[in-house]
Amino acid sequence: MSKKTTRSSKPAETKPIPAAKAPALRKVMFISDELLQDEENELTLEYFYHPGKGKPVLFITKGNTELMEVIEFAEQRRCWLINNDVCSDGRIFMTTPIDITLLALHHLRLHCTEKALALEDIGKADDKSTLRLLREFVRGEEHLRCVADIKNASGMVFYKYNPKKTMAWLAIKTRRVAQKLQSIGTHCGQSAVSQNYVRGELEGESKEETEMDYLRMACDIVGNYLDLDLYEDLKKYLNIADETPIMTSTTKKEEKAKGENKRKSLQQLNSNNSKKVKLDEKTKNAAEKLKSSGLVEDSPTSDTNKPNSSEETSPVSTMSPNVLTPSPIKERNLTAKEKALAKSAKGTKSIASFFTKK
């Protein structure tokens, strides 16, 4: 027979738990084949200023030549099971191609609107990442010809920001993206709540509306990489109207009718209110009378010192016979109850007496 263990006896020796290894931080990443052409090469994750977000954002670079944006898919409450390990970070990082001109555009607008500058001169001296971007990755003419005027002088190349060219370039890009969205079949617009449901076509609905939806969505996608004022200008240029709630001719009529009905019902409410106000006044009087009855010894407002019996009957008698609402019945019950309460509570302090000013 084994010895029974009691609290007084020593606890059984537990197996020593091996010290947990410092958990390795794991991330799941989809890397584009373009960056993996060279087996030996090393990729670097760097931060560059992102004009749309207004702060440095993660990019991936290959040497000094290729640059791609790193976007993360981060759904709430996701994690990975990797072979026999749990990875609590449920994000997926993906490398996406990015137009370097969009990144350079911000710096160009900032420094080269008034005068033409050489690439080396653009940017502040202490902003290392911007300087690196502009000197290494921006291949002058190739990337800036669409948004800037290029001037050659004494062997040096100078760039000056051209707003017209930029707007034209952005508009072309936006239209291309809108076409791509249409070809993918992305659901967008007012009715796009779920991909599982498609809005039925109403009679007389024009297809132009949906094209505007695609254009609006494309403008938002392009606008993700632009400064806010440039995005607003692009919207104006493409004549993208702000989203308005769907108002077809039938709904307009319905809303008008509803409005009229509302007014009628408002009138009804008003009349109800007036009735309620009258009743409230009567109930208030009853409450005051309750206070002045034997229930209260030290009443703060001892203005009305009316005797019990005569007043309890009065609210009932003053009630107009036309008002057929449940409240007078309630009042009768209350007064009967109040009578009983008052009887039993004779000689006790009321709760109001505790809240008087001292």
Binding site: E39, E42, R77, V86, R145, A168, V177, L181, S194
Partner: protein, 153 residues
Amino acid sequence: MNVSLKLGRNTANKPLELHFLPAKIFEDGTTDVDNYFNSYTRKGLDGILTNAVRGFPLKGEILKSPSNYRAFVLQSSEKHSEAKVIHNMYISGKFDNFTYWNYDKVPSKADTYKQALQMLDISKELCAPVLDSEILIEIDGMGLVIGGQENTI
């Protein structure tokens, strides 16, 4: 802070088995996935996999990593520190397929993951180069529309 990804040579390692769970587990650690999870996976008639975690039903399907992309699991041994030191991340493994699980919902094209993949195609379109001739045509069109406002630009 720069992070260097050391890709190195892809040795013929067995590809990793990954499950994308619709739940947040707050610990990183080791567990017997085969015994506690994989052994309970069932395949329905419609090809949808079913399983459960802590009693919560899961519906899943096997997805491939997006085309033109290679999927890796990267590992870093150091936690992010404030010091601006270039630290390295190594490839812990690669995978071609993974099992995508949804909480009690059949995986469809409405899943946010599938929609996120569309962004990859859209970004590619956004980067396509624009010809000078196209810009000139657009500017000409601008002149007709804007007219008197040209002076302000």
